[in-house]
């Protein structure tokens, strides 16, 4: 009778699971208690967290440092606008189209990007994002370089909005924000659960092996190239979904905004670096710090961005594992543990 078991669970992770359930339930009920401004803030936090989790999957687990994720935000957003404006698809359904278009276009993009390694991959993805921005600016049907708005009729007839309007007794514009917020909540929960699941499977183990030492991973039979490709496509899909949803909520789009390297990649990188690269907890901490900094200093414009840049540099130089890394090193707490440990039997698994 074997008394040893391989486990990834810790006492903290079990507590975290119930805590997370309560938190998600609370967030789901938030529209009943808070005003429209707070819902919009929460929407911003949740969508940035989604983008950050996917960038973290790419860079922190896949070793693929992309500076071109804005390509997929923009492509997803424009796919949604195209579907709604040209084909009259319901905007909510179009979010799925956004993700699909992003992942389909990620296939040819990966052909180009994967010819470059390391640092060159980073700039290569940036070039591709610029190509996407300049090409979309030539697409007259969705407003060319100046952009366009979601048609009023399409937004007015959007599914679920009338139900929310009557159920919560709010105006249509507020109901749309609430719907977008709930969709963002579903997306972020699915993202975190999905990434956590992925990292605990055999594929996740292979991914961690590739990240830690690619040659060694190859030598034990891990197909590193394929793992990176899967990660790249997964991130494109999630980033595209988030892009579609973000611009559904904004209601207005332009190539410069939708393919902005600052908004969709620089901020996301700061969130992940400040919070802690290569952990699921990191981006969660990072997005909260980022939102706090933005609420306090966003009025200072350029000074605020300089501050963010300096904090990012400082963290990378002096605490490369980010705030969560510092905390986790001191306390040993892991809320989303992925490391396999031997427990039970004579050898007592260290809990905590």
């Amino acid at each position: 009778m074997s008394v040893y078991t391989v486990t990834t669970r810790t006492r903290a992770s079990r507590t975290a699971f119930w805590g997370a359930l309560i938190l998600v339930a609370g967030l789901a009920l938030a529209p009943l208690f808070v005003g429209r401004g707070t819902i919009q803030d929460l929407f911003f936090i949740l969508t940035m967290l989604t983008l950050a989790q996917f960038w973290n999957l790419l860079a922190g687990y896949g070793g693929l440092v992309s500076v071109g994720q804005q390509a997929f935000v923009g492509l997803g957003a424009y796919a949604l606008y195209g579907a709604v404006i040209l084909y009259g698809v319901d905007p909510v359904v179009s979010i799925l189209i956004a993700g699909l278009v992003a992942v389909v276009l990620a296939v040819p993009i990966s052909v180009f990007a994967f010819r470059l390694q390391g640092a060159y991959f980073a700039i290569g993805t940036w070039v591709i994002a610029e190509v996407c921005r300049l090409s979309v600016a030539q697409w007259r049907a969705v407003g060319g370089g100046t952009g366009t708005s979601l048609p009023r009729e399409a937004v007015a007839e959007m599914m679920l909005v009338p139900t929310i309007e009557t159920a919560l007794d709010v105006r249509a514009s507020e109901a749309r924000d609430i719907l977008a917020y709930w969709l963002a909540l579903i997306l972020v929960v699915a993202t975190i659960a999905g990434i956590y699941w992925l990292l605990r499977t055999r594929r996740g183990l292979a991914l961690a092996a590739v990240r830690d030492n690619e040659e060694a991973a190859r030598s034990v039979g891990v197909d590193a190239g394929r793992m990176k490709w899967v990660v790249f496509l997964t991130s494109a899909f999630g980033t595209g979904l988030a892009g579609g949803l973000i611009y559904l909520q904004k209601g207005r789009i332009s190539p410069d905004a939708a393919f902005s390297v600052t908004d969709w990649t620089a901020y996301v990188i700061f969130i992940v670096v400040i919070g802690g690269l290569g952990t699921i907890e990191g981006p969660i901490i990072g997005v909260l710090v980022f939102f706090l900094l933005q609420s306090l200093f966003a009025d200072y414009g350029a000074w605020y961005l300089m501050l963010l840049g300096l904090i990012g540099i400082g963290v990378m130089l002096f605490a490369p594992r980010g705030l969560w890394g510092l905390l986790s090193e001191r306390t040993g707490i892991q809320l989303f543990p992925v490391r396999r440990r031997l427990a039970g039997g004579a050898l007592k698994g260290r809990e905590g």
Partner: protein
């Protein structure tokens, strides 16, 4: 109409892109560091020259001579104090630190000089042109191209004819063995970045005199520089010049067909080369 004129303009523009790229290529070649703030450093250099011109009231070429030692010292300090800490097997720290630096430089320039576009005035030289048989070319683009060729000749001389160049090559090949021979890699790297900043100053002079620039102009320059380096093949400075020319010609031809396609045409030329010859047109050696 795409004529000889368009092609010549493109080739001369390529000289400017080769100047953008030479510094990037130098730093990558020696320490495998890709500086994402490279374009922003060029724009910073252009502002520095602009300030010198307006404060001292001197000719831009003289102003660049004044700016050069300042840029050299900044490059040395930047490498010694910040970037050396990020070097290692992990590619993330240098990328993320230089990306942060790019954001910092852009916003510092925005705060100091506003978002208005600026230009370094060259006086009569701006509009001067010479007749070269079938085509007439501007004197300034011609000087830019000649400077690019001179910079590449100079860097090759530095690399292969001097003690510093020997130290550069040795450190690039094998850091540990080089340090056994009494070379201090941290100083070699600092010197390399300082030299790269001299090239950046020259690039900045022509960026600022040929066209308008503003604090957000850096990333696009980084991208052109990067494209030129990849097209040319890593480690080949003459290849970088060829890469710059390909981007320049693609842009002017694209612009001749439709002004909106200028930048796009350059990027597409880059992607085509990447597809057909992923290691560039003139790859050197083992190609790590």
């Amino acid at each position: 109409m795409i004529g000889l004129d368009t092609l010549v303009q493109g080739v001369l523009l390529g000289g400017l892109y080769a100047l953008f790229a030479a510094g990037l290529s130098l730093v990558f070649g020696i320490m495998r560091l890709v500086n994402l703030a490279h374009g922003d450093l060029i724009v910073f250099g252009a502002y520095l020259i602009l300030v010198v011109v307006s404060v001292l009231g001197v000719n831009p070429f003289l102003a660049a001579l004044v700016a050069a030692p300042v840029m050299f010292a900044l490059g040395w300090l930047l490498q010694k104090v910040v970037l050396n800490r990020t070097l290692g097997d992990d590619i993330l720290p240098p990328l993320l630190v230089t990306f942060g630096l790019s954001v910092v430089i852009q916003n510092a320039l925005l705060e100091s000089f506003s978002a208005d576009s600026q230009r370094i005035s060259m006086g009569a030289l701006e509009t001067a042109s010479v007749d070269l048989g079938p085509v007439t070319v501007g004197v300034l683009p011609l000087i830019t191209f000649a400077s690019a060729v001179l910079v590449i000749v100079g860097l090759n001389q530095l690399f292969y004819r001097t003690a510093i160049g020997r130290a550069f090559r040795a450190t690039s090949d094998d850091q540990v063995t080089a340090s056994l021979m009494g070379i201090r890699p941290d100083r070699v790297f600092a010197t390399a970045t300082a030299v790269a900043m001299l090239v950046v100053t020259i690039a900045a002079l022509y960026l600022g005199t040929r066209a308008n620039f503003d604090p957000s102009a850096g990333p696009a320059r980084l991208i052109y520089a990067f494209e030129a380096v990849i097209i040319g093949g890593l480690g080949s400075l003459w290849g970088t010049l060829a890469g710059g020319i390909i981007i320049g010609v693609a842009q002017t031809v694209g612009a001749a067909i439709n002004p909106e396609w200028q930048i796009l045409a350059g990027h597409i030329a880059f992607l085509l080369v990447l597809l057909v010859k992923p290691r560039g047109l003139f790859p050197q050696g083992g190609g790590r």
